[in-house]
Structure formats: structure tokens, C-alpha cells
Symmetry: C2
Subunit: 245 residues, 2 copies
Amino acid sequence: MLRTELASQGAAPKIARPVPLRESVFEALLELILTGHLKPGQHLAESELAGLLGVSRQPIREALQLLSGEGWVDLHPGHGAFVHAPTVEEADQLLAVRTLLETESAKLAARHSTPDGVQRLRALCARGLAAVEADDVDASVAINSELHAAITELSGNKVLAELASQVSRRVRWYHTPVARKRGRDSWREHTELVDAIAAADEDRAAEIMRKHTEHTRSSYLEQREAEPIEAAPEPTRRRRPRSPK
Amino acid sequence: MLRTELASQGAAPKIARPVPLRESVFEALLELILTGHLKPGQHLAESELAGLLGVSRQPIREALQLLSGEGWVDLHPGHGAFVHAPTVEEADQLLAVRTLLETESAKLAARHSTPDGVQRLRALCARGLAAVEADDVDASVAINSELHAAITELSGNKVLAELASQVSRRVRWYHTPVARKRGRDSWREHTELVDAIAAADEDRAAEIMRKHTEHTRSSYLEQREAEPIEAAPEPTRRRRPRSPK
DNA sequence: CAACTGTATGCTGTAGGCGGTCTACGAGAA
DNA sequence: TTCTCGTAGACCGCCTACAGCATACAGTTG
């Protein structure tokens, strides 16, 4: 059925292909990782994926490189690709970096806030609250990402926004269970944050964002202790080199 | 002659190739960009580079993707690769992000400083000062990178270290002229910074690093106003799509 | 003279194939 | 029984080839 999915996109291959195949493959593989069909530590054989998605190995290779660049898979030259298996320590550090970037973004967003921008943020808050009320966790997580992205954009620093977005995407991997637990609190904090940005209060915006992300972080760590991410079954066909360097 | 360079690496292709060709290509291309042989905005035709380096298009493509991931080239699907042309604004934002990451690194390095780590930093400072005394700008810049990398590593946060290193590498592109101007001052600040880290004085270390990187930033901006980076001559064979999106 | 259209060329994106290395596994020796 | 070695299979990295789109240019028309 995955084959079908991509094949349908390729159903009109001779007419026009505005989007390179590698990006479709990228998203398809990312989806498989996020949904857990491809488990952390698992070896990803190019031929296998190529057959699964109904394309040749070339787009698979390129998509794997893109995934590697964003930290989703590890490339071991001569040994192929493996789904990245984040340790608790690494997740913790990632969340710490996220706090740093998002806090700075919030500060700058408050400094450069515009009525138009604030209105967009408020709209996202409303949608997020609605999603929480409806117990739609997936939507809540998605809108959460949108809101944070909007704030980083509002900061006016594109480099910062891009970096924060990248880090946030990785965080999203293990974000869902946390959202389930503290969805309502999280969105209340979001609302306060937007108020601070609207008031152009840099320090308060930064402080709220710092507490907000730190809160998420500790929640995540508790969660993680309770339910470690399931790893790939041992019989991974190809072993990683002993020195993962 | 470039062909020779890579060909020599491939001179023993049948025995063992511990390092994939794409990484050699990556470094070769990066060198060409840094030295200005490939100018900002220039279109990079795969076949051309393949011929130049004496390899096929495949490793070239993969190297270009790696370069794209680190912000050295822009990939426009269907239109090929272009050497990234940083605007003054973007460079400014990049340097601001660098300040943020490096400041946090310095703070954490002070918090987690070890005698062993401090000793490494001092050794680098000594080498840096020696390079400045000898008017060896290139060495000074290189050792500067090493020092900053060592500090980020000492922070204990690998994610932060990786991000900071990536940002710093990009900064290095336009760093050299600055180093020429304020080499001595820069290394004096480094020494103070290491002292603060050795004393485990988080706040002081952070403050020194902040000032240090801000200083570099303003120096760079002055420099840039005076000598804009030379761009590719207009007759770039292939135009970028109008909406660079 | 300007704008448009048809044609030619170059380049990208993808497929398929080859050589070499790594892993796994079974047979033989200590 | 355990360790070593040889063999077979699988997979990766790279090369070559092809199809389709984008661009540039020349000819044509208003």
C-alpha cells in the first residue's frame, strides 16, 4: 500500500514532476519512522526500501542522506543506514538546546511583534485550545509546532528560525505522549506567552517560554523513564561498526 | 590538477576505500568555495564538477546534498545547485545565533570544567597567541575554531556542540579578514575566557563570550560594508527560479 | 520593431548494472 | 567442544544510460 501511495504520485510520471521523488521518499520514510514501523537501531537496506516504495535505489539514497542531515538516521559508510536511536541523555540535551533557541526566539518576537503577527498567534492558540477540548492529541501536537514555528518566524531572525524548526521537528518524535498528559496546561502557557509578545515584554516572554519548554522537558523525561522507546529487535541483519565514532 | 588530487586518492581503489568518495568530493568542493574558485551565486553543473574532479555525477550529487545541509549551497529542485550567496542580513543573523550558542556553551563549560579540559584550552590559547605573534592569520583562524570547538565540547552537551560547530564553520567563511584586523585583542579575550572557565565562574564566562562574539560580529559588519563579497559574474549559465521560495 | 512561438541543446532526476566488501554460516582442525 | 578458516550470499558505493524538463535562440507574425 505504500507502494501504491508513491506509485499514485508517480502515476503521471511522464507529464510533470514538479517535486523530486526524493522528497516524497523523504516524507514517506520519516512517516514510517515516526509511526514506529521502522524502529530505532534498525538497519535500512536500500534495495528493500526501494522495493517497498516502488522506486529505484537512487532516490532512496538521497532521501536517506537528507534524513541523516536532520538526525533521523545514522549513515555508517560501507554499512548503510540505521534508524537513529536517541538515548535519554541525547533527548535531554536536545530539549535543552530547544529551550535555548525558543527562549531567544520568544524574546526577539516580543521585540519585533506586530499586530498582524500577534493576530496569527492568537488564531493558532484558539485552534490549539479547540483541539485540546476535543481531545485531539495529534492535532494539538501539530498546532503546537505551528505556533512555535510562527513565533520563531516573528523573531525576524531566519537563521534562528530555521535552526529552531529543525530542532523542534526532532523533538516532535517523542512529544506526543507528553502532550497527552499536559495538553491543557501547555495551551494556557501558550496564551500567556502570546500576551507577553503582544505587550512587547521581552523579558516576560522569554521567561514564560523558558519555563514552558523546561516544563515540557521534565515531563518528557519522566515519561521516558516510564516507557522507554521500543528499539529494533536484536536480529538486525547488519551490525553497526563497533566504533560508531 | 584537481583531477589529480582526487585521482590519487582513488589510485588504490581496488584495495580498500575506508572513506566514501562523496566525502572527499565534499571537502574538495568546500575548498573551492572557501578559496573563491566557486563564487557565490554560481551555478554548479554536476557534469562539469564530475569532469573537473574525475568522478561520476553520483558522488557529486551526494556531496552537493551534504553541502546543502550545511548551508554552503542552495539546491533548487529541477534547476540544480548554486553556491550560497549570503546577504549581509543573513550573515548578521548567523553571527547572532553564533553568539547565542557559544555563550551558552561557555556557561556550561564553566559549570562542567575539569582540570584536564582547562589544560587543553590553555594549550590552544598558547598556540593561538604564537600564531598571532608570527602574523600567521590562517593558523590563527584555524586555532580559533579549534578553541571554540573545544569549549563547546567541554559544555557536555553534544547536540549543542554539534550545532555550534556547524554554525561556526559557516561563519569561518567570512572570518579571515576580521581575524587579520583584531587578532591580538581576540586572543587576549580568549585567555580571559579560559580563566573564567577554569574558575568555574559561569556568569563571567558567559559574559566574556558574549562580548567576544559580539565584538567579532560588529567587526565583521564593518568589514563587510567596506568589502562586499564578490559575487559570480552575471552570465551565470542557468538562472535561479524567480521564486527562490 | 516588438512579442510570440517552434526548435535545439544542456542539464537534472531516475533507473539499472557492476565490482568489491562485509556479514553470516558451515566444515575442518586443535 | 571450541576455535579457525573458507565459502556463499547480501549489500553498498559508484558508474553508465536514458527520459523529461528548462532554457536559449532563431524565425515568424502582428
